[in-house]
Structure formats: structure tokens, C-alpha cells
């Protein structure tokens, strides 16, 4: 696995930790340890995405992104269901 894939995988795993913590907080909204973990994961996500984007460009294109060129790059391949070769 190359560095780009490794960094992407690391962001995805932090995103997964965030999702898990959010689900837990739905039924434990006053759990201070979980709230602390959520803040920590979100900080790590910001840092990991910044590090990735400094090296490789956008982590994922969103519709909020101002197109760098004169075209709407939201529609560009690959779409998520397409095999990443």
C-alpha cells in the first residue's frame, strides 16, 4: 500500500471512530469520556486531512468546494461504487 492509500485509510478509520462515538452519544448524551473522545477524534481528523491535502490534493470532492478550474469537478470519476484500480 502506497503512502497516499495509507493516509486515506488512516482518515477513514478516524471517521469511523467519530461515527461510532456519535452513535454511542445518542443514547449516552452526558457521557463526558465519550464527549472528550469525540473532540479528540475530530481534532485528529482535521489534522490528518490537512496533512493528506498538503501532499495529494482534495481528500474527497464536495459540492461546497469551489472548483479550481472552470468546470464542475463534482461529477468527475471515480464514483464510490467504481473499482479503484
Amino acid at each position: 500500500m502506497n503512502e497516499k492509500c495509507m493516509m486515506k485509510k488512516s482518515i477513514d478509520s478516524i471517521c469511523f471512530s467519530i461515527l461510532e462515538t456519535e452513535l454511542f452519544l445518542d443514547t449516552h448524551p452526558r457521557d463526558q469520556k465519550a464527549l472528550h473522545m469525540l473532540r479528540e477524534y475530530r481534532r485528529r481528523k482535521r489534522e490528518a486531512i490537512a496533512a493528506y491535502e498538503a501532499k495529494f490534493g482534495k481528500y474527497i470532492v464536495t459540492t461546497d468546494d469551489v472548483p479550481a478550474s472552470d468546470r464542475w469537478c463534482w461529477i468527475d470519476s471515480p464514483w464510490p461504487w467504481e473499482r479503484q484500480v
Binding site: 461510532e20 452513535l23 454511542f24 445518542d26 443514547t27 470532492v61 463534482w74 464510490p80 461504487w81
Partner: protein, 210 residues
Amino acid sequence: MWKYEKKLQYPVNIKNPNPKYAKIIISQYGGPDGELGASMRYLTQRYGMPYNEVKGILTDVGTEELAHLEMICAMVYQLTRNLTPEQIKASGFDTYFVDHTASVYPVAASGLPWRAEYIQSKGDIIADLHEDLGAEQKARVTYDNLIRLIDDPDILDPLKFLRQREIVHYQRFGDAKHTHSNRFIYKVHNQKKGLSKHGSPLCFYSSSLL
């Protein structure tokens, strides 16, 4: 509203197309215990729920199920690329192909299209959460069965991830049920002490009856 993130929750990258596997995996999209039913069940039940904890978990799990539905569709899509007519006939995929070509359509492995009868929205927190707990276990068993029938590691990896999610969702719905039970005990306690004017526990189950 929802906002689309242009990525899968967990990667699906299947090297070898296999229409036979596609035909059974599609059950986790449009089958009786599939992800389409799961997302519709939870997102629909939200409106009958009296507590914010339960509205929250149904919203977030229902949303995650949409991401799972997308993973299942990605698997079916990748398993049905570049097929020859011979492969389609030999694999038994021809009975699906004749109606849908290689597009994705919500059916069970048996070919039965998705039906709204697969889900319930009863407007009662106990009835609905018990259905949700059962639904997660049935989906888990369906993943168990797929894992028994499939031997390609590229397919097994995302299937195992999805199987684990069923278990986590079961835990979270269990927590939601406990949240309710605790409130119920508190309420009965208050009623005994004459602190509440609400009469029967029935009123407690559904806020709309109060």
C-alpha cells in the same frame, strides 16, 4: 435533509466478477432483512418516537444503513462487470439479467422485489425497538449465510465489516430500550408518589396519546 459524501463507508474493491455471488449478495439490498429495508424502517419509525435519544439513534443508524446499501450495490455492480452471455447463462444470472441487464434493482436472492411489508412503523416505542433489535439480528444471520457461501477474500472483507455493524446497531438499540425502561420506572415511581397526572402506562409509550 441529507448531504452526500462521495465515498464508501468501507472500501469495496472486487477484482473478479462473479454473477453467481452478485445474485445472492443483492438480497442484502432488496431482501427481507436487507439494508434498504433497514434504512427505511429506522428513518420512518422516527416520527412515532417520544424521546430524543431514540429519535437520534434511529436517524443516525438509518443514515448509516444508507451507506451500507451503497456498499452492497457497489459489490453487486463490481461483480457484474464485463460478463459474457455464456457466463450469464452458466451462473444462473440470466433470470435477473433478462429484466434488469446489469443494473442494480432491489430484489431478494429468490428474485422477489423489495416490499414495504418487510418493515413496520407501529408508533409504539416498545414494539418498534423490539422489531429493530430483531431486524439487526436477522441481517447479521443473512451476512453469516453469505460468508458461509462465498470464498473470495475481496468480497468477504466488506461483508465481515457489515456483519459487525449489525452487532453494534443491536447494542445501540438495546441502549435505547434501556433509556426507555429507565424513564418508565422513573415515571411509575413518580406516579406512585402522586407526582404525575398521567394515568395509564399506555399514555407513556406514545407522546401523541397524551
